[in-house]
Assembly symmetry: D2
């Protein structure tokens, strides 16, 4: 199923006048405050977030899964789903593949399909947290950190294979998330596990093409519940530094202990030029993988404040790989992703409204009240007209959710695919 620009445009019609009024009013206000509204809208329009191939079907928990209707059952269909999201939001111009769930059978066909939908191939993800049917070694007790050389070798080779697959598609980064760790005290020797992981990553790094990046993800717990080998940004950075200049830390918003100050981590990593990528989601308790911005939108804004600052002031840090990494347990996955994209764009837009010069001056004065006024002044602004304008300029929908529903996308997908399909992967 595809949505045409005409369909989107048609679905926008009833809202355009209202949008124009809102935009003009806001634009005028912001311009008077000294903002370059066009520049902001333009930055919003070029900001693109990758959709992971595994997030297009219903997610689940260890207590089970309630499936959704019309889920994609092939890589082609997954890319079509992203095409629909991108067509509506103009913000989802990339896919992040998960191997081995998404190995293309016909590379050219897949590339053509993606190209036609204006979708790029972002970071590729390896999987060493599950056993594959034909695998000779098991990851039950770890992969890159395993005490068995045979297991480590298998995991290294898998990552090298993933790089090759990504390379054929135009990806430029490998994202490594390890479930490795232990469920009980004593199960692992922390030092051995860490050293094995370092050595394995170095082997993978050797296979990295020159223009690629390696992104090392961290997570404090789950699916191991006593320790994780790469438990925090400090461990991730240590491993990345042990590999080389092309290795970076990847931050997933849900991978932190309670009450962590994530924006500070983001800021310091950028200062050191070592922030490589970002996985968006939201959470209240752990790695809940909820819709971005659904629980702590102000925290997201504070993080974007640091990201915007870094993009403006830290040339030592490369461009970031942006991805949504959420699980859609009770919502239509496509609607869920649309809501996430909206929340990301909103946080980005608000962060761009922060008067960095005024903020710096207030900080130098230790005028804490004013610092807060500046941040909250930007945050309290209703930036939806800016997001609408950015989408409209690119041929997207004024309200992606409304258009998705008025065009009955899910109904169309069910008609095409049947009701009880199941997405590959989790």
């Amino acid at each position: 199923m595809k949505i045409s620009k005409e369909q989107v445009s048609e679905s926008n019609k009833s809202g355009v006048q209202n949008h124009n009024e809102n935009f003009d009013f806001l634009s005028n206000k912001l311009t008077n405050q000294g903002h370059d509204v066009n520049a902001i809208v333009s930055k919003l329009a070029t900001f693109q977030v990758a959709i992971p191939s595994w997030a297009l079907g219903a997610g689940g928990t260890r207590f089970g899964r309630f499936s959704f209707y019309g889920e994609p059952s092939s890589l082609e269909q997954k890319i079509e789903d992203i095409g629909i999201i991108h067509g509506l939001t103009q913000t989802a111009g990339a896919v992040s593949l998960h191997i081995p769930w998404d190995i293309p059978s016909d590379y050219n066909a897949i590339k053509e399909k993606a190209d036609a939908l204006d979708i790029k191939f972002d970071a590729v993800n390896s999987n060493t947290f599950q056993d594959q049917e034909d695998a000779s070694e098991s990851y039950k007790y770890g992969s890159l950190s395993n005490t068995s050389k045979a297991v480590r070798d298998q995991a290294i080779q898998h990552n090298l294979d993933v790089i090759k697959i990504g390379d054929k598609l135009g990806s430029k980064a490998l994202a490594v998330w390890l479930a490795d760790g232990s469920c009980f005290p004593g199960q692992n020797n922390f030092q051995t596990a860490f050293q094995n992981t370092q050595d394995s990553l170095v082997e993978i790094y050797k296979g990295l093409p020159d223009d690629w990046k390696m992104l090392v993800e961290y997570k404090p717990y789950e699916p191991n519940f006593y320790s994780t080998v790469i438990q925090d940004w400090g461990a991730s950075l240590m491993l990345a530094n042990g590999c080389g200049d092309k290795a970076y830390t990847l931050v997933d918003l849900g991978h932190h202990l309670p009450n962590s100050n994530i924006e500070q981590i983001v800021s310091i990593l950028q200062l050191k030029g070592k922030l490589g990528g970002f996985h968006f989601n939201d959470s209240k308790y752990g790695d809940d993988d909820l819709t971005v911005g659904s629980i702590k939108p102000y925290a997201l804004f504070l993080i974007f404040n640091e990201l915007v600052y870094g993009m403006q002031n830290n040339p030592q840090n490369p461009d970031l790989a942006w991805m949504i990494d959420a699980s859609h347990n009770v919502k239509d996955p496509l609607e869920d992703l649309i809501q996430s994209l909206e929340a990301i764009q909103e946080a980005y837009a608000k962060a761009m409204l922060i008067d960095q010069n005024a903020l710096k001056a207030a900080q130098l004065d230790n005028d804490v009240v004013k610092c807060q006024e500046i941040l909250q002044g930007a945050y309290r602004t209703d930036v939806r007209p800016l997001l609408e304008k950015a989408r409209l300029n690119s041929g997207g929908a004024l309200s992606p959710i409304q258009s998705y529903r008025s065009l009955d996308v899910r109904g169309g997908l069910i008609k095409e695919r049947g009701k009880h399909t199941i997405a590959t992967g989790l």
Copy 2:
């Protein structure tokens, strides 16, 4: 020091036109969406939050305190400070006294002063977490829960005294916060401590005038670091029920374990008609007592969603006692309180914008995406013009912080009181 309506009005002048444009535009939009803007503005104007008498000077931590200039050194001066805040915000029309820090020497004079500033006497607070110089018994090992009858009796009598003081001033509620608990396993017998607390509260309850309420506060830890006798809402409710119909649970936003769903607690207490009062502040780690809305404004909005729902649908629950309970360690205390009041009003205004009928319909449909759209649609609205209008209608400041600064209030206070005064209390 006092601020006159004329001074405030004068300080508003430069911003009125801008405000009018913003308000008219927003009002028009909201009216088209079916909202009764006047009713919302009117509700905002009547919403009043008590200022605790101990929060007008700089706060501190166990690592020390950095004092601020021109702090009030008497109850009279504290009420004057609240008068200033109220004059600017028109939202701080009440004071919550802390005994024994604020025992009036001349009740009539204090009442007249408060009356002149349009300030009411809200709940009175007892203090059994510190020893007073002339006390015969020590609260080191607890007060209402103490194993010693003499200590319990002293603490009971203190609460009865506090009621009498409050009664002379027109207060209608006693707020009881106990530090009682233990620092080490085994120190307390949980059952004895709980039963003693229940018995002591019943004694105090007997002294409660008919038209008074008793508000029982809970807190999981600090200043005791192993257990607190009234550790959560369940314990507080049990104790309140053990006293009688006039006893209620009081919720302080900072008194919860990490990741607590506070809005659900608020909702269930209202369902049972047992939510008596609210202490506003914000926090990232524990009972941090930060400016309201400075860390988790969306959580505050979700709580107000429940409060608004309760006020509309739970006649079984009484009117609530609202109070700010924050500590001002690095900001001018008055500016800090003004920012808190603004955040409270904002959350309240946004909660009133939630279309409860549409939300209920979406809930019945299990349309989770739409439920979120409805909540976030209200939250994303920039309601500052509504707050401005509510203040303007009552003779307050368009921007209380700006007026506070342009009128050089702190400068005036320092001139009047001297630089190195110290507020009584913490």
Copy 3:
């Protein structure tokens, strides 16, 4: 597969002399301190913990599952597995069934098998967190709390069916754990969900035989990640009270927010006569379902201190239903359960060594140092000889893990059942 008393006895031989020396030495010491060692050993011997029928195969996480060999594939085999554990530990004399995973096809045969192995049928557990293939309604959006009457009715009927099944087997309690809640703010109306749950529980309660108990479990999050209808002990108790005298709160050690003081909850519930049952496990982060005592053994001891106190001092509270509720992701499930049983017995034995009179005296003196000395004095005692004696007296193994291994139980199970069986249930 079965283990005979003779096999166990034979496997004990090499260790008996060493045990006797250790026991005699310890027994002598404890007797000199005023303890009645025989009474303690006897209480240990009669203490029995139910094994849940779903915990005999490998567990998993949402990221997958690594299966184990020789898993039981029928209720008969599950009971045989418990028989093995019980034969070795003499502590696992009960099974807790999970319906619909374990509906007996032949009730008499199952009862006979259990009887032969000295295994009783403890609380039965309903399941309304997953959809069954033939179900007309889905629990995706809740069961007893669902906004749809048809769904609630189905869930009520299921619970009534579970009671009937349990009744035929001799169970005397229904344990209700609800996954009901919401993943996003606004998804649920908290009050409606709570009231629906209360009404549904009342319907189930009506079907409860006179000599049965209803156990209402609580949990703050997972599988819902924003709110859970029965989020804490306060909500559980409220619902139990709303049902009647036979309804109680059930505490699962893993179902609490970070840093909760669980022993205090246990104590207060006993004071009110409302603690009905206990699910043992251990955790570091959330509901990790790790081996009992593997992470926080001192916390377990402190909980047992309250339980022992309650059993001695709270006649208002009924006998408790004890169960292990853990997930065995990286260990042989039977060995994991044996380790859990050992940890439970150890905590119980140490708690019985606390000198309650001395503790009470120290508490009355506010001698905090001595209170700690008393608790830690008991805790530091190496009670393994007492556990060995209790097992030995009942025909169990000195070291259940060692006997399990020396008898090559897992090898036998694989031989009998094949390698790649899969346990029904999770």
Copy 4:
């Protein structure tokens, strides 16, 4: 006040026979298991923990402080108090000074007094979290990270002064704990604050004598409640690496977010040769500063497992500076410290009982059950006789708490110093 060896010896008399029996039995058992008991006892005897000079009086919270009787009011008296503890425990042979609270007036006299009591001068601690009366600059908004060069210079100079003071006394390490951070989003620029801190530390590092170490402490929050400049081990290590080889990370057990795996941090730092020191205490909620081992003794044991492993296997890591850093709010400070020392020795002794070879073999086999058996086998051993023997061999008390009480030390201190003295410092 001093305690003589004779007094201690006399107080031991009644317990010696019992001790001998217990020790002989345990020693025999452990020897049979292959342990070198003498070596363990000898290691216990040489293990010394520094007592901080500020921990000899009652501590408090931001809600107040209940003072204790007979507190030391001079550095001399503080050292005498440590002398008493050391005389009883033979484990407290060092003092850690806090400047400016403990600047000696007569260096030689202080050194002689300490020498006579067999007390060494461990790491010296600077204080830039409070303003001193005569200071020209305030640390309200930070010290080494402050945006003002004058403030940073003052803080740098203070640290250099502290080094000089320590140097005169024989200290070999400077411990730097910074309260620097922010209470509100936006208050600080994270990168500027971090860079300023790095630059300031480099300046201090330049003044470090060749045989000194600089220990950089981290803490996630308090007294700042939004961010701390050195928030975790990753930030601390980055700063230490930015200084040079003599700079190390210092771990305080209470300075972590909820559920942190501290033992893993300890292990990785040792692997990298960068663990410099350790502050012992215990906590349930935050930086509660409770008696060591009073809340989570198993976690302490797991940490000591890593420390023992590191001391045996990580020559790249230097000897550690050990210190207790607790607050004594409800206990006699000296008794509290004695309990802490006992808990530390206990954890150390148990960790030495872990069969590292067997553990390694089980880890290589992925025999998770056995790994746990090995750890818990060591942990469950009652090692008190070993601790007693170590103390006895050095002239200490069998039971330091009992001797402290039977010798009526506190009574003697009150007689000497008066009841209502107040310890300098916090």
